[in-house]
């Protein structure tokens, strides 16, 4: 037990390499995005997409990872899984906030409003609220075992809720009102000059995500080891 705690709390060179590569990738991706040609209908505003789409994907990836590790914790009861689940949620929250923010900055010049109660936006906001709850619950419980169990419960119930609320919000909007704003999101994905920087950013952010989760888990493992002593 003590040995495994020591092993998982060591900052290994793989984590550092992933973090460094990810950071480099984000810088490269940023320059590629900034030098991409303006979109025909949206102009330079479309550059926000190079940032927005990858962060949103990472946010969803984080929620899947959190579900996976929470279930793994409840089945196997290894503290390591709990720490990784918590790390994915915390890092995922940052990406989710970035995705929401960049989306709002894009929406204002394009749709004319910062926020629209469209299914995707609404469910993302709900997911954000669920994970804020997750972090708050973790902060409120001191007993490590109870904290891990409660957090896993929140994460699992929360991620079951996302598809359900996606459907309900979708029906909620589509049964009655016609959509007042046309969503032109599908149009942008065609051109290679836009696709390439987006993919570079996606790869860079994936690396950053993995690196940050590993880093955060290592910190959590060290904290846990210190609490034990």
């Amino acid at each position: 037990m003590q040995l495994s705690a020591n092993l998982s709390s060591r900052l290994d060179s793989l984590t550092l390499a992933i973090l460094a590569l990810g950071t480099l990738g984000v810088v490269v991706g940023f320059f590629m995005a900034m030098s991409s040609p303006p979109d025909q209908s949206q102009g330079y505003v479309a550059r926000i997409f190079h940032m927005h789409v990858p962060t949103a994907w990472m946010a969803y990836l984080a929620s899947f990872a959190a579900l996976f590790y929470s279930v793994a914790y409840l089945v196997r009861r290894r503290a390591h899984f709990d720490r990784v689940a918590a790390a994915t949620v915390e890092v995922g929250l940052i990406f989710m906030a970035l995705a929401l923010l960049s989306g709002m900055l894009w929406a204002k010049p394009t749709w004319g409003v910062y926020w629209d109660w469209e299914p995707r936006l609404t469910t993302t906001a709900i997911l954000f609220a669920i994970y804020v709850g997750y972090v708050v619950v973790r902060g409120a419980i001191e007993d490590p075992e109870l904290r891990a169990k409660a957090a896993a419960g929140v994460a699992i119930l929360g991620s079951i809720n996302v598809p359900i609320s996606y459907m309900s919000v979708k029906w909620w909007r589509s049964l009655h009102q016609t959509q007042s704003i046309d969503l032109t999101t599908g149009k942008i994905m065609v051109d290679a000059s836009i696709l390439v920087p987006m993919l570079v950013n996606l790869a860079a952010l994936t690396l950053l995500f993995v690196g940050l989760v590993r880093f955060r888990s290592i910190i959590a493992a060290r904290e846990a080891a210190r609490e034990e002593v």
Binding site: L74, I126, A129, I130, V132, G133, V136, V137, A140, I141, L146, K149, A150, A152, G153, V154, I156, L157, G158, I160, N161, I164, S165, M167, S168, V169, W171, W172, L175
Partner: protein, 221 residues
């Protein structure tokens, strides 16, 4: 099965003997409806339009206020450990508390429905459908609040934490139940809006099952 009924019955008896909790919740909701009715103005049309939303949001508040009741007494009298010590699996504790919550919420919901009929001019004519949607909606609320109340029973800040955790999760219930109620109030034929009831049913089934399965894992001990 018998255990579930006994647990729910015992909690209900204790709740009604204690009185203060339930009555203060009902009174809070009455005041809330009154203030909201004042805020929406005197026009009956406006009030009727707002009624379903007010009704279901009020019930959501009631749900999170009453959620603490389910395990509050167990913690105060430190009988939670006794319950956990009983042989057999622990799902029945969840179902017993769920039944208790459901009965409380249904009672509060019926009071609210009658009040909304009076204060907000909500036509309560096809009352069977109203009761059905109230039942399914309350079950959805209760399934979630019972689970979280058990998990947070021994924490100090649970009064604040509970709504924070519960409200994002009950959004589908609020949306579906509200839309169905609204259609009833507008006189839309029930056959056209049955999808909302189906969504509620699916939600209830998924959440009761998931919460019952997670419950033994999450509860202390």
């Amino acid at each position: 099965m018998q255990r579930i009924l006994w647990l729910a019955w015992r909690d209900l008896v204790l709740e009604f003997r204690g009185r203060t909790g339930l009555f203060s919740v009902v009174f809070f909701l009455v005041v809330m409806l009154f203030v909201l009715a004042l805020a929406f103005g005197p026009a009956p049309q406006e009030l009727r339009k707002a009624a379903p939303g007010v009704l279901w949001v009020a019930l959501a508040f009631a749900g999170s206020l009453l959620a603490g009741r389910a395990f509050g007494l167990e913690v105060e009298d430190s009988t939670l450990d006794d319950l956990l010590l009983l042989p057999g699996s622990r799902e029945w504790i969840y179902f017993g508390k769920l039944l208790f919550q459901l009965v409380l919420l249904l009672g509060v919901g019926l009071v609210l429905l009658v009040l909304a009929g009076g204060l907000f001019h909500l036509p309560l004519q096809p009352w069977g459908w109203y009761v059905l949607v109230l039942l399914l909606g309350s079950l959805g609320y209760a399934a979630i609040t019972t689970f979280y109340a058990a998990m947070l029973a021994r924490l100090r800040g649970r009064e604040v934490l509970l709504p924070l955790l519960v409200f994002p999760l009950v959004i589908p219930v609020v949306l579906a139940a509200m839309r169905f109620t609204q259609s009833l109030a507008e006189g839309v034929p029930v056959g056209e809006v049955l999808d909302w009831l189906r969504l509620l049913l699916v939600f209830d089934a998924i959440y009761v099952t998931a919460a019952a399965m997670l419950f033994p894992h999450v509860l202390e001990g």
